[in-house]
Structure formats: structure tokens, C-alpha cells
């Protein structure tokens, strides 16, 4: 029986290799510097977790950035109050996001389809607005939550005398900036991949897919769908909180803009671009978006003028004018165009493109790798 072969160690080894060697194989793409690599790992976690909810159960949340934000705030508070060690920070990030997700999920999951999406969006916008208003003592409002020299940091200060400047986040003494920061995020990503893969291949994951496929049937099959969807919601909220706390680990500040609806929308795009319901698609989508964002948002008029310098004067300024709509601040326009193209021509995202390629080259035999649920819009 083919199912009896345990592929887990191979999948894990291959995945770990790809992730840990990112600084090398991303060099030709000019993407091998720590800041970007950290983002790749962090947003991969965010998208992977989001996919456990959206990809498996079909419930499309438009408010997941709220959990990202909660994770960041909790982590920064842990740095301020207790210690610069990152382990407690990510613990609190995940825990608070989980509690928050439990509350929001409990209410939102009373509805399905578009009503569920609207509810999650409303809750996230509420959190965003609260962060700017009544919650300023916790969030520090528009300035954002930052480390200060007056922070109590009771655990650290009990053992060492604080230095002159602001301390760095660390993992038992190893600074979490630069490459060490990336490798830390990379290891967390590998653990998340392992967890996600287990969920995908468990009876629990199968049940979640059943909910996406035909929720009505589930009831007459003896399954209570609410606790299943709520568990998926909380797990994906915890992944988001983890991603948020890692953002704080690599750069210890937290602002409310992290919870804005555009951030919630971005993770939806990542998941769809990569391939809804597939194991690694959402991660690929996250990489693609963060990579393109990095390129396109760094362009400005001067680089464009340089780029189009081969054109005659009048044409050049026209080309620059047109192109500048799509770069810098306008990079979201590029993202929108890309998104439309993918949804129209590759509705299954990058993973569908990959499967089509495999089919073409294996002469119709079709290599089937990871479980890839058929792509379907949310119920």
C-alpha cells in the first residue's frame, strides 16, 4: 500500500534544506539580505496559518491582521516588562493571539460565507481603531509601542545591569538581528510547516476539508462543525500571533497599522496567489508578494528615468509618468494587476501552475506530491 510509506522525514528534510539554504539560493535574485529573508519566513508562517482556516474549512477571514498585531504588541510588552529573550515574547504573542482568536472566532463563526467575512473584518477594524483610541495606554497610539530606557525589564535587570543604550532582542545571549534573526525565524517556520503538514494529514484535517466541501452533510454525518471551525480559527490566529511576535523579535516595535484591513487583505492575496488549500502554496504566495513589494516599492522617479533613458525625451517622460503609477507607493497597483492575471489564468495559484508544468513534462502521468485540495472559492 502506497499510503504506508512514511514520507514525513523526507518532506521535513527537504523543506528544512530549502529554508535554511535560502541565503544561498536567493543570491541570484538579489534577495539574500537578512531583512527580506526574515520577512519571507515570517509572512510564510502567517500565510500558512491563514490557509489552515481558509484553505481547509473555506471560511474566508478578512481580519487576520488583528492577530498579527496582537502578537506584536504582546511580544513588545514582554520585552519591556520581563526580558529581551525572545522565547517568552513569542509565547505571549501566541497565547494572546489565541485568546483573542477564540473570542472573535466564537462570535464570527455563528455565520458563514460573506457574513462571516464581514464580521471578521468588522472586528479587525474595531481592534485597529481601539488601538488608536482608548487602548493607547497599551498600544502607545500613533507613535507605536517601543522599547525605552525606563522599561522595567524585571527579569533581565535582576541578573545584569542595563547598558547605556537600548538592548537588543536575544535568544539566550545570541542577538536576533541580521542572519541569526533569520535563522531563528527559519527554524520556527520549519516547526510550523511540520505542524501544518500533520494537520493536513490528520482525520481532523480531513474533517475540515469535509466542512469546506459540504457543511450541510457534516451534520447528518454526526459531526458538530462549530468546534472544528473554531479550532481551525484559533490555530490560524495563533500562527498569525506567532508571525506578529517574530516581527517584533526582528524589530522590537509594534504599531496599529499592522492591524489595518490592507494587511488582512494581503494575507488573503498571498494564499490565493500561492494556491488555496495546498500545503506550501501560501508560503510561495507570501514570498512572491514580499519579493515584488521589495523591488517595486523601492523604485522612484530617478531610477525610472534612468531605466527609460534609451527613449527619446518626450517618450521618456511619458514612460516614466506611466510606470511611476505602478512603483513606489503605487506598488499595490502592480499587485492588483498580478492578482487579476493569476486569478484569471491560474485560478489555482502558483501550485496549479506547478502541477500543470509537471503534467506537461511527465507526459500526462501527473506527479502528485502533497495533498492538494481542489481549489474552490469559499462557500
Amino acid at each position: 500500500m502506497k499510503e504506508m510509506l512514511n514520507r514525513e522525514p523526507f518532506a521535513l528534510a527537504a523543506f528544512s534544506l530549502v529554508i535554511l539554504l535560502m541565503p544561498i539560493w536567493l543570491t541570484p535574485f538579489g534577495a539574500n539580505y537578512p531583512d527580506l529573508l526574515q520577512k519571507f519566513a515570517i509572512f510564510a508562517i502567517f500565510a500558512m496559518g491563514f490557509n489552515i482556516l481558509f484553505g481547509l474549512t473555506g471560511y474566508l477571514s478578512f481580519g487576520h491582521a488583528a492577530f498579527l498585531g496582537v502578537g506584536s504588541y504582546a511580544a513588545v510588552w514582554s520585552f519591556k516588562l520581563f526580558t529581551m529573550n525572545v522565547i517568552p515574547a513569542i509565547f505571549f504573542g501566541v497565547a494572546f493571539a489565541g485568546i483573542f482568536a477564540l473570542a472573535i472566532g466564537y462570535v464570527s463563526l455563528r455565520r458563514s460565507g460573506i457574513y462571516f467575512s464581514i464580521l471578521t473584518l468588522a472586528f479587525a477594524q474595531m481592534s485597529y481603531n481601539l488601538a488608536y483610541s482608548v487602548l493607547t495606554p497599551i498600544t502607545n497610539g500613533e507613535t507605536g509601542l517601543q522599547l525605552t530606557l525606563q522599561d522595567p525589564r524585571i527579569i533581565d535587570n535582576a541578573f545584569t545591569t542595563p547598558g547605556a543604550g537600548l538592548p537588543e532582542t536575544n535568544l539566550f545571549g545570541i542577538d536576533m538581528s541580521g542572519y541569526p534573526g533569520f535563522y531563528f525565524c527559519a527554524v520556527v517556520l520549519i516547526i510550523c510547516f511540520f505542524i501544518t503538514r500533520r494537520i493536513f494529514n490528520s482525520p481532523f484535517g480531513l474533517t475540515l476539508r469535509g466542512i469546506k466541501s459540504n457543511q450541510n452533510r457534516m451534520g447528518y454525518t454526526g459531526l458538530n462543525t462549530r468546534p472544528y471551525t473554531l479550532t481551525a480559527f484559533v490555530i490560524s490566529g495563533m500562527f498569525a500571533g506567532l508571525a506578529g511576535s517574530l516581527l517584533a523579535v526582528t524589530d522590537p516595535l509594534a504599531g496599529a497599522e499592522r492591524m489595518q484591513w490592507t494587511a488582512s487583505g494581503e494575507v488573503v492575496l498571498m494564499t490565493i496567489l500561492g494556491g488555496v488549500g495546498t500545503l506550501i502554496g501560501p508560503m510561495l504566495g507570501a514570498w512572491l508578494i514580499k519579493y515584488l513589494e521589495n523591488i517595486f516599492s523601492s523604485f522612484n522617479e530617478i531610477t525610472l528615468e534612468h531605466f527609460f533613458s534609451f527613449l527619446p525625451e518626450g517618450l521618456q517622460s511619458f514612460a516614466v509618468e506611466l510606470a511611476s503609477l505602478f512603483v513606489g507607493e503605487g506598488w499595490h497597483l502592480t499587485l492588483g494587476v498580478l492578482f487579476m492575471l493569476i486569478v484569471i489564468f491560474l485560478p489555482g495559484g502558483l501550485m496549479e501552475g506547478w502541477r500543470r508544468l509537471l503534467r506537461r513534462f511527465s507526459g500526462g502521468g501527473g506527479g502528485k506530491s502533497e495533498p492538494a485540495a481542489a481549489v474552490q472559492p469559499a462557500e
Binding site: N201, T207, Y220, G222, N224, Y228
Partner: protein
């Protein structure tokens, strides 16, 4: 109420707006029997099953299953008590494989309405997988077990849904036109399968238009017309009943 009754529908009324879909319906299904419900289209047959599985609440009256009154039970609770149903329009998991379709109900029966073990492995569920394969073989779908359920023909979808119910070993199986849309050959196969199940002692309620199927399976027949049970009895009694001839059999034959 009869002593060995598995399902007892007592004085159930249900209206949709002005339409009386069920009026004063009484029904007793005895253990181990196959009880057929026949009647013209729109008579309220599916509505009666909907009341039994908790999809619809009756306006008045009760449904009693194995001594338990099902007034406030949700569909999943009723299924956990031992009632499985094949719907008139197949309700399956279209974008899962046939094997997955049958394994989900098997897990539901074994682990209950909710079981949180997100890290246990499907790969290790050999017993359930074997049982699922066997059940698919029973309905003649084993060669297609890795196909996506949505790609099946209408008749095959029904057989899949039957397998999804059978794997739960329900105490009561409700079948809403299980052979509609099937070829003669497939209909006969399904009848044979239902006969084997009967030998195992499973209680069944079957809604069916095909009189050949009804008379070869049923121990008892109830005739529903315009929301009322107009006759109930053994197949011979029903055949000879002039009221039934007039309301249904005459027209259908």
C-alpha cells in the same frame, strides 16, 4: 406505541406558509423491518424524513427514536444516536475522493461529534481505511476509490452516499428515493444490497417510486397523500386497498 418500535412519529403537523405539508402523521417503524413510504410527488415524504433527522422542526407532535424524544436534537446529535440518511439529491463531499467521503462518517461514528486530535495520522488509520474500502466494494465503487466524488454519475453518487451511511452501521437508515436516476442494472444491484443489509437486521425507512423495488423490499408500506397517511399495512393489504388504488397506484401504473 408498539413495544419494539425503533421510530415513532406521533401526530406530527408541519405547514409551510399556507401549505400543509404534513397533517396528523403517525408512523411506527418496527425493529428490523423495512418500512416503505409511497405517495405522489409533493405528498410530504421528504418532509417527513426531514422532521426525523432534525432538519425541520414539526409545528406540533413528536418524533421518538429508540425511546428518546427528538424535540430539541440537532442533526448531528440525531445521527450520533444512530440515524443515517440518504438524501433525495445526493449530499456528498464533491471535492474529496470517494475513500475520504466514506472515511469521514466512519470517524464520526468512532470518535463522536467532535474529536480534537489534530496530529494523529490518517496513514495510521488502517482499520478505518480497510472498512471504507470494503464498504465501497459493497456498493460497487471500489475501483473508483481515489476519484473525486463530484465527477461521479448521479446514480454512483447515490451509491456513494449509501456507502457513507452504511459504514456508520446505523440503527435506522432513512433512504429517500435511493434508486432514482439509476439504470435497471444498478437498481437491481442496489435492491440486492438493501436485501443483504436487511438480513443483518438494520431497520430501514425507504421512500421509493419504483413499485418493483417497494414490493421486493418492504415489510410494511405507508401511503402518504397531501400530507396525510391514508393507508398503512403489509404489501398485500396495500395492493388491495381501493383508497390507495385511487390516490396513487392507479395513477402511477
Amino acid at each position: 406505541m408498539v413495544a419494539n418500535s425503533v421510530l415513532h412519529v406521533a401526530d406530527v403537523h408541519k405547514s409551510f406558509g399556507g401549505l400543509k405539508a404534513l397533517s396528523d402523521v403517525d408512523l411506527n417503524v418496527e425493529e428490523g423491518t423495512t418500512h416503505a413510504i409511497i405517495g405522489p410527488n409533493g405528498a410530504g415524504k421528504s418532509t417527513l424524513l426531514n422532521v426525523c433527522v432534525g432538519r425541520i422542526r414539526p409545528d406540533s407532535g413528536h418524533v421518538v427514536f429508540n425511546g428518546e424524544v427528538l424535540d430539541n436534537h440537532t442533526p448531528f446529535e440525531i445521527n450520533q444516536l444512530g440515524v443515517s440518511r440518504v438524501f433525495q439529491t445526493p449530499e456528498i463531499f464533491s471535492d474529496l475522493t470517494l475513500l475520504d467521503n466514506v472515511m469521514i462518517p466512519a470517524f464520526a461514528s468512532r470518535d463522536g461529534a467532535f474529536s480534537l486530535r489534530p496530529f494523529s495520522k490518517l496513514r495510521h488509520e488502517a482499520t478505518i481505511r480497510e472498512e471504507a474500502e470494503k464498504t465501497l466494494a459493497d456498493v460497487g465503487l471500489e475501483v473508483m476509490k481515489d476519484r473525486e466524488a463530484g465527477s461521479l454519475s448521479r446514480g454512483d453518487k447515490r451509491r456513494l452516499e449509501l456507502a457513507m451511511c452504511l459504514i456508520q452501521h446505523p440503527k435506522l437508515l432513512l433512504l429517500d428515493e435511493p434508486t432514482a436516476g439509476m439504470s435497471r442494472h444498478d437498481t437491481n444491484r442496489t435492491v440486492d444490497l438493501l436485501k443483504t443489509i436487511k438480513e443483518r437486521g438494520m431497520t430501514k425507512v425507504i421512500i421509493e417510486h419504483d413499485m418493483h423495488v417497494v414490493f421486493s423490499l418492504a415489510d410494511k408500506i405507508s401511503v402518504l397523500a397531501q400530507g396525510r397517511i391514508i393507508a398503512s399495512g403489509t404489501p398485500d393489504e396495500i395492493k388491495g386497498n381501493p383508497k390507495v388504488q385511487e390516490a396513487y397506484l392507479g395513477g402511477a401504473h
